[in-house]
């Protein structure tokens, strides 16, 4: 299974470093946080440092066209204008009613795909909007129209590179299983099939851990991957972060994550008018054994009390004994390497075997948390504790039930 960098604000040299050391297999660029000129030069740099083929994808962020009708929306470079014109000319604010017009929808598909033809991406990502609350909605119908027409509009470009339809779904929509199943029934019998899907599961706030770590959301996310894979599609999961190996276990081809919390969970709040303020988050360490990130100062304590929290991977050295505080720019390198390690541990050719490995890992994490609880005088930070494990376990069991798989 592949792991990509989810590009966003403040790349610096992170992606190049990840490519150079082999912890990531590619990148999904987001135009909000990069100008067209910088995008082109960064792609060139990536290809220069790569010692093996890397995947370069461009998420057109068309889903931001709906919030873009708000003049205060935070669109960054999506609106950038230079002497040569707009950096991303395919991007325009759109009202929902405009996209109910087939002519407009086709024009947006054509413009977005044509833009990518001229940059060195290894596959096209088609535009789409977010399905916000329910599959029984106008947005879902528009989304389906984008998906249904992705292959035929891509074919007009006569370009051999694969095309991925975007499927962006708010977590709330996953809670109604009947509607989800009905939607997937339609998606899986398209006449003109895209090569795959760029799958995004949206939360209301990228800071709210419980929005992702919810059994129905995890089960739904896994189920979509599983169903699409069974039906011959390749699935790239954006913003999948630590769930990457769990979706990989059921058929995903790739997952992606980045360095800020808004690159680890997909949320439209990135495009909301900026509130200002905020402070830099504390650096964290992704422990494979805990299936979670802990703060560097928690790591500093735990590495002595329960050394199993350490991954034993090369990037452990970025968290030096004595303080365990890494350079902020290097935190993501540790995340990528840890997720890659989890991918290697969980993803097998048999879904059933992979699920068993996932469940065992959850159980092992429970036991380790219990030992930490016994050894540590104070409670872990709320984001570091074991609350994600119930959702993971329940999510896997619920997924297996939906997928008609008997767990051992």
């Amino acid at each position: 299974m592949k792991l990509y960098a989810q590009h966003g604000h403040g790349n610096g040299e992170k992606i190049e470093e990840g490519i150079r050391n082999g912890s990531i297999d590619g990148v999904v660029f987001g135009p909000k946080n990069i100008t067209r000129a910088r995008l082109l030069s960064t792609i060139a740099e990536i290809n220069e440092v790569a010692t093996r083929p890397v995947d370069v994808l461009f998420d057109p962020q068309f889903y931001a066209a709906i919030p873009a009708v708000d003049p205060a929306a935070s669109l960054g470079s999506l609106q950038n204008e230079t002497a040569d014109g707009r950096d991303y000319p395919y991007f325009e604010a759109r009202r929902r009613s405009q996209l109910l017009s087939e002519k407009q929808l086709m024009a947006d598909l054509d413009a977005t795909l044509s833009f990518q033809r001229d940059i060195a991406v290894t596959g096209f990502i088609a535009p789409n909007i977010l399905i916000p609350r329910s599959f029984d909605s106008a947005e879902a119908a528009i989304s389906m129209d984008f998906i249904r027409n992705t292959r035929t509009r891509h074919a007009r470009l006569k370009d051999a590179r694969p095309v991925y339809a975007t499927l962006a779904i708010a977590r709330e929509a996953l809670l109604d299983k009947e509607e989800l199943l009905r939607f997937l029934n339609d998606v899986t019998v398209l006449d003109d099939r895209p090569d795959g899907f760029y799958l995004l599961i949206g939360v209301n706030s990228s800071e709210a851990r419980s929005e992702v770590y919810h059994a129905d959301v995890i089960a739904g996310w896994m189920y979509i991957n599983h169903v699409l894979r069974l039906n011959g599609y390749r699935i790239i999961n954006g913003f999948s972060d630590i769930l990457t190996p769990f979706v990989g276990a059921v058929g995903a081809e790739a997952g992606a994550t980045g360095w800020w919390s808004n690159l680890r969970a997909f949320s439209m709040d990135r495009f909301a008018p900026p509130l200002g303020g905020g402070r830099l988050p504390v650096e964290r360490y992704l422990s494979c054994a805990l299936l979670n990130r802990i703060t560097f100062y928690e790591l500093d304590q735990l590495r002595l009390l329960t050394p199993e929290v350490l991954n034993g991977l090369p990037t452990d050295k970025l968290y030096p004994e004595g303080s365990s505080q890494p350079q902020r720019s290097q935190e993501v390198l540790q995340s990528w390497e840890a997720i890659r390690e989890l991918n290697n541990r969980f993803v097998r050719s048999s879904v059933k075997t992979s699920l068993s490995l996932c469940l065992s890992a959850v159980q092992n994490a429970r036991e380790l948390y219990a030992r930490i609880d016994f050894a540590l005088p104070q409670s872990l930070d709320p984001k570091s504790n074991e609350q994600h494990l119930d959702a993971l376990e329940e999510g896997i069991v619920l997924f297996a039930s939906l997928a008609e798989i008997d767990l051992p």
Binding site: V227, L230, N231, G232
Partner: protein, 300 residues
Amino acid sequence: MSFIPPPNDSIIAEFDGIATLAEVARGGFKVVYQATVGPNTEMFKLVCLPVIGRTDEERQTYRNESLGRIRREIQLLGKCQSPELVKLGSIAPQLKVIGGQEYVGYSEEYLAGTNLGKLIRDRGQKPSEQEARRLMLALLKAIQELWGAHRTVHRDIKPENVIKLPDPQRPFVLLDLGIAYGLLETGLTHDGSAPCTPRYLAPEMARPDFRRDLDYRSDLYTTALTVFEYSAQMHPLAKTRDDLIQTISRALHQPPRRFRDERPDFSESFCDLVDQMLKKKPQLRPSDLNALIAEMEAPV
């Protein structure tokens, strides 16, 4: 329930070109004969237009339904190119009245083989994986033609409707499009019930509103059922003494036997594919026909 067909002489007298008739099979309202037509052997089908219903209107509805079904089967057969589907014979469909009863007769090509239902009942040697894959391939190609070219679902793929031929170029042929369902057509079973054989019922077809979402994945399910039963000489779900309710209940709720448990000598990948095609939810059945066909055509 079977009806009593008219004497052979009466049939021969009504349908030009038939020299001899020998009954091969009989169903509710249909008799299939092996017929000599000029120098050739063909399969002649005589379908009785049933007189059912308490009122003239009901009787007319049933009659029209039957006629529509026969007309559709014949039109579809005429359009299909795939060698995996049976071809029409030389006797064009004709409506006749024999002994005061209406019949439609027409012919199909004669297939000098045995239907899989008989082979299963005879409990001879179980097929090799290679043969089972050939069966799967033939049915997939038939589905591809029906769905890809004609937007039609067969809806009655089962061992009795598949003929095994001693011809390596054409090892299996799918018969009986009598209840095939075109998506653009009106449903022809007037009471909304699923017009298929209960033992070979795809779970989604048990829903009252099944027509709304019906597609070729129902045929994928029954293809897997057929491959399973032919290979294992055992139905993955149904039991002989089950009544209708039990049969449908099993289709809806009971996980099927694992194919690998019944044919441990087959490759894991083929067993997994059959098991996956037997999932209750259509979306869990692999639906990429081109990929499935390529997989079956690849060397084991």
